[in-house]
């Protein structure tokens, strides 16, 4: 932890305010009848802080804190009755709270938010029942007095209900606040928040969520027990009344009102709790009604809480003033943009060896018998179509296989890897990034990287600042990732993986969703990392960029290795090539009887997801009776286009027109069946959604069932989850057909299917087209699209890169070039030539 001047000043605010308050109390400026309320507000502040920081930092909402509060108070009463010294009472209460809290936190880490609520609710119910029934100690309904507690260190005696107790409460609250401030700036808080906002990503940087929540619950419970002791002293009498479950709800209300996770908010919450009764009598409503209204209004209108709401403009103002004062030029970015050439590996010793590694989920074999070796300082690219098992391979490397069954052996730097916990793999020297940049949304950019450290020193901060500068994030170091475009979030993900200089970096689709200049920048980073001695395993679908940073390429399909080679040779392997392009026997294309009637027309369509461009300027015209193919690699924007053609997704830009009365229907990617519903119910629900009911529904249902293959007709009452992939696809198409559409849109029907089933699905689609149905087919394999469609548009990175008719011989070459490189001039051969000069 670094104590800089502003942090010390902030930490001193609590004690300073406490001292001022005590001075007021001593001078008599606060009327005697309010003295008790001031003490109570101090006690409540500690409780609200405990609940609020636990919720804000660890994401644990506890309704168990009334119980801890009660435990503290009754320990004070018991101690007072048995002449325990004050210190023993405080230590005893804190120890009980810490032990019980650690247990609840550990048990709760296995559960979701709701289960923790039940767990802590049960804890409160049990504790309150014990308090009520165990009258020999607690006095039952009658309560017990807290007469006095004498300090063993000779610091005097605190009388229950006396003025010393009020001073003690204010002093203790000041100390707790003073400790909370540096904690908020510490690595501890960052690790807690990291574990809360993304437990999985947290594991990859060595943070174990269970340990974190256990620790934070223990501290929170201990503080609440301390507050309970203070409450006992303050009131001089302990009875079960103040510790009801509605007090638990009030505590949550106070936290939400002040601002969850805000220290100043906790003070506001404590004050609110103390004076809520007076507030209610002022407005003339019952106290619970006021509380309920406050709770609802805050959640509806100020979900962040009052203090953060007020603090934001204040902070903005401060930042503007400071910026004006700070006229030093920003340090120049250290981005050496000159693309360093990729050097061959310098070290021949083996860093990582996988032998026969398989991963299965239930009956699904996600990875089958994968073997590979990686030398130190080598970059290995893994390619393969969707569902080939690439991400599963990376998850096996970083230990995120969840409840999948992993078999085989893996050896990393001489140690067995597969038995090592995910949290320990960071220490072994494995860092990883995620396809969707899984960054910690509630930490700033700098904190996202800093939280990889357990204790943060000044040197760490400087190092992280240098790292951020090297990836071009220095300017935004104090912002939250959510405010940044996707490209910068991906850089942050990379920076977090690079911190602590791992021996092996595992990159999951690092190029996906980036534009050309960002991709070039990223390729530069990877080459520089390699020059620094790091080995890299990288998967991606953007082959050009991937190959420009790879020494060796491994191709996967159906969970197993199908080929290996250098970037220049791997695509010449017929097996690898066909896994992408497909090998399709000449299929009979359905006869074309295209009418002139326009069914769907798109004009200038563009779409983005959170700053990532999915589609740009797409013009399409689907005419009646056509089989229209849209071919493109994974991530080219096909599913977005399918949704827009269907009408269920509204494009951000551009116009969609349909012919009069044209009904569209979509069989979405991945089938999207309701797996717990039976086959018949799946069809019924779709008809119901399309407004088909009653006799018409029964009629359509019968016709649609007739369309299904016989082996499905016999199983109409079985759950759809039990069907094989091909059968599910058939049912998904049937479901789209039940509303009698004019245009059927089918998104990647062949995904994950064995070749024979693909043929069956395509034969049935062709039959539908022969009967005059207009079909739009979105397809990953270019050759398959070319073989069945009358008209094909090739989508590359959200743009229609080629558009023509498969019958046209010139179109075939043009389409293939567009599929891989976005245009005829950037085809695979040109790219390979460019690469050859770079690699060697």
């Amino acid at each position: 932890m670094v104590f800089n001047r502003s942090l010390l000043a902030k930490a001193a605010l609590g004690p300073a305010a406490g001292a001022v308050l005590m001075a007021f109390m001593a001078s008599g400026a606060i009327p005697a009848y309010q003295m008790y309320s001031v003490g109570l507000a101090a006690v409540y502040t500690v409780v609200v802080l405990s609940v609020g920081l636990l919720a804000g930092w660890s994401g644990i909402w506890s309704v168990g804190h009334p119980a801890f509060f009660a435990i503290g108070a009754y320990v004070a009463a018991y101690g007072s009755g048995h002449d325990w010294p004050l210190e023993a009472v405080v230590l005893g209460a804190v120890a009980i709270g810490a032990v019980l809290g650690a247990f609840l936190g550990y048990a709760g880490a296995r559960f979701s938010v709701l289960y923790i609520a039940l767990l802590t609710l049960a804890f409160t119910m049990v504790t309150l029942e014990l308090v009520n029934r165990w009258s020999s100690v607690t006095g039952g309904d009658q309560g017990v007095p807290v007469v006095q507690l004498r300090s063993a260190l000779g610091l005097g005696t605190v009388l229950g209900g006396g003025a010393e107790a009020q001073y003690l409460a204010v002093g203790a609250a000041a100390v707790v606040l003073a400790l909370a401030v540096p904690a908020a700036a510490s690595g501890l808080r960052m690790r807690l928040v990291a574990a809360k906002s993304h437990p999985l990503a947290a594991r990859t940087i060595g943070i174990a969520p269970e340990a974190q929540s256990s620790l934070s619950f223990a501290v929170s419970a201990a503080c609440t027990c301390l507050a309970g002791v203070l409450l006992g002293l303050l009131t001089g009498f302990v009875s079960p009344d103040p510790f009801s479950l509605s007090f638990g709800i009030s505590l949550i209300a106070a936290c939400v009102l002040g601002g969850v996770g805000s220290i100043l908010g906790a003070v506001a919450g404590g004050v609110y709790l103390t004076w809520n009764p007076s507030l209610s009598s002022t407005v003339g409503l019952p106290q619970p009604v006021v509380q309920g209204l406050v709770l609802i209004c805050v959640l509806l209108f100020l979900p962040g809480g009052v203090v953060p709401f007020l603090a934001r403009p204040a902070r903005g103002l401060a930042r503007r003033l400071l910026r004006r004062a700070d006229t030093r030029p920003a340090p120049p970015a250290e981005e050496s943009t000159a693309p360093a050439a990729l050097r061959p590996p310098t070290d021949d010793s083996v860093l990582l060896r996988l032998e026969h590694v398989s991963v299965s989920y239930g009956g699904l074999q996600a990875l089958e018998d994968a073997s590979l070796t990686l030398r130190r300082n080598e970059i290995l690219a893994v390619i393969g179509p969707n569902g080939a098992g690439k991400t599963t391979l990376l998850n096996a490397l970083s230990g995120l296989t969840g409840n999948g069954r992993v078999s085989g052996t893996a050896d990393f730097a001489g140690r067995p890897l597969l038995r090592t916990r995910a949290t320990a793999r960071r220490r072994l020297g494995i860092g990883r990034t995620f396809q969707h940049a899984e960054v910690f949304s509630e930490l700033t950019v700098a904190e996202n990287v800093l939280c990889t450290r357990r204790r943060i020193t000044g040197r760490d901060r400087a190092e992280v600042a240098r790292l951020l500068r090297s990836v071009g994030l220095a300017e935004v170091a104090d912002r939250r990732p959510g405010e940044l475009p996707f490209g910068l979030q991906k850089r942050l993900d990379l920076a977090r993986a690079m911190a602590e200089n791992p021996k092996l970096l595992v990159l999951d689709e690092p190029f996906g969703g980036l534009d050309a200049s960002e991709r070039a920048l990223l390729a530069g980073h990877i080459r520089r990392l390699h020059a620094g001695g790091t080995a890299v395993v990288v998967i991606d679908h953007v082959l050009d960029d991937l190959f420009s940073v790879a020494h060796r390429v491994l191709a996967f399909d159906f969970g197993r290795t199908i080929g290996e080679g250098t970037p220049d040779t791997v695509l010449q392997d017929p097996k690898v090539r066909s896994s992408y392009l497909g090998t399709v026997d000449a299929r009979t294309r359905p006869p074309e009887h295209t009418g002139e009637r326009g069914m769907i027309r798109l004009h200038g369509i563009g779409h983005t997801y959170g700053g990532v461009v999915a589609l740009r300027d797409v013009d399409l015209d689907v005419r009646q009776g056509v089989v229209f193919g849209v071919a493109g690699a994974n991530g080219a924007g096909k599913s977005t286009l399918a949704g827009i053609l269907h009408g269920s997704l509204t494009a951000a830009h551009g116009v969609r027109e349909t012919g009069a009365g044209v009904r569209t229907s979509l069989a979405p990617e991945g089938r999207a069946l309701f797996k717990t519903l039976s086959l018949r119910e799946n069809l019924e629900v779709a008809a119901y959604a399309g407004g088909v009911t009653g006799a018409r529904l029964r009629e359509r249902l019968e016709e649609t069932v007739e369309w299904l293959p016989v082996r499905l007709r016999d199983r109409m009452s079985a759950p759809a989850g039990g069907l094989s992939g091909g059968e599910q696809q058939m049912l998904a198409i049937a479901r789209a057909l039940i509303v009698a559409p004019d245009v059927l849109i089918v998104d990647e029907p062949a995904l994950g299917l064995a070749p024979a089933l693909v043929d069956e699905v395509y034969d049935r689609l062709a039959a539908l087209a022969r009967d005059g149905l207009t079909v739009v087919l979105l397809e990953q394999l270019l050759s398959r699209a070319m073989s069945v469609c009358h008209e094909v548009a090739v989508l590359h990175e959200g743009v229609v890169a080629a558009h023509g008719r498969p019958g046209d011989p010139a179109f075939a070459a043009q389409a293939e070039a567009a599929y891989f490189g976005g245009g005829p001039e950037a085809g695979p051969n040109a790219a390979a030539a460019a690469r050859a000069s770079r690699v060697n």
Partner: protein, 289 residues
């Protein structure tokens, strides 16, 4: 033996009430991701209306129907005014908002009808003798009515297109959107159904316990314990969990200690969950990156 039979029947009657409430909670939770803490206090409002009607000489059955109608109307009002504006997927905010609603509803009931306990009319009085035990008819009626209600709910979900659509939304809201199901309409139907079941459960529970503004807090917590035991998203789990809790509760009160019923029930629930976090019928979810 006759004592045991009595305890068992009384446990099943309590369990039927917890099961009905739990069923209502699960139906609402599955359809809208809201854990409806306000369910019990809204049903209390319904109960007070029924008691007032009864005091004016209206038949008990009509009073119960009125209670169900009032509860459903209040619940729909709450959903449209304070839950829907929160937006989708606000699990915690929605829970806390329903807590706020529950505070307001209980306090309002208290200020209109007073905090003094009122008696709630039984549907039937008297006992029947069976193998040496005098079983209260009301308990048997409770079990019977709950069984009929549960069967009807089962029929709705298993046999009708509407029920299939509700199960579809519960399985995947995203897929439901792709297929074109109207999520809002189904959400309203789920809320109405859930609150109706809660009101029915309340009417069966109230004759034994008497009516105060917080009368239904205890059965609500037991219904919670039941649905967590059952697996949170499983309707069978809610019913079986509720029955388990009801029987255990009565067994513990009679054979262990009447003073430590909550301790027994909740310790049992937590211990079961520590061994099997997903509950008896829940499924484990796995997050994929």
């Amino acid at each position: 033996m006759s004592q045991f039979l009595l305890v068992l029947v009384s446990g099943l009657a309590s369990g039927a009430v917890y099961g009905l409430m739990g069923l209502g909670l699960v139906i609402i939770y599955r359809a809208t991701d809201v854990v409806n803490f306000a369910m019990a206090s809204l049903a209390t409002l319904g109960l007070y209306v029924a008691v007032s009607l009864h005091d004016h000489g209206v038949a008990t059955v009509l009073g119960i129907l009125a209670a169900v109608a009032i509860t459903v109307a209040a619940g729909l009002l709450v959903r449209e005014t304070v839950i829907r504006p929160l937006g989708q997927g606000q699990l915690f905010s929605a829970l806390v908002v329903t807590m706020g609603v529950s505070l307001i509803a209980e306090s309002t009931a208290g200020s209109i009808w007073g905090d003094q306990p009122k008696s709630f009319p039984s549907l039937v009085d008297g006992t029947v003798r069976w193998s040496g035990a005098a079983l209260p008819v009301q308990s048997l009626v409770t079990i019977g009515v709950a069984a009929v209600a549960m069967t009807l709910v089962g029929y709705l979900f298993a046999r009708t297109t509407l029920g299939s659509a509700m199960r579809a939304v519960a399985e995947s809201a995203d897929t439901a959107r792709v297929v074109g199901l109207s999520a809002q309409r189904l959400a309203r139907i789920s809320w109405a159904l859930g609150l109706g079941l809660a009101a029915l459960a309340a009417c069966l529970y109230a004759p034994r316990a008497g009516l105060v503004p917080t009368a239904l807090v205890a059965p609500l917590f037991r219904a919670f314990a039941g649905i967590f035991l059952g697996g949170l998203t499983s309707m069978y789990g809610a019913v079986l969990g509720g029955l388990t809790i009801g029987v255990l509760d009565n067994l513990a009160a009679n054979y262990v200690s009447a003073s430590f019923r909550d301790t027994f029930v909740f310790t049992f629930t937590v211990l079961v969950l520590l061994i099997r976090p997903q509950g008896m019928f829940g499924t484990r979810t796995f997050q994929r990156v």
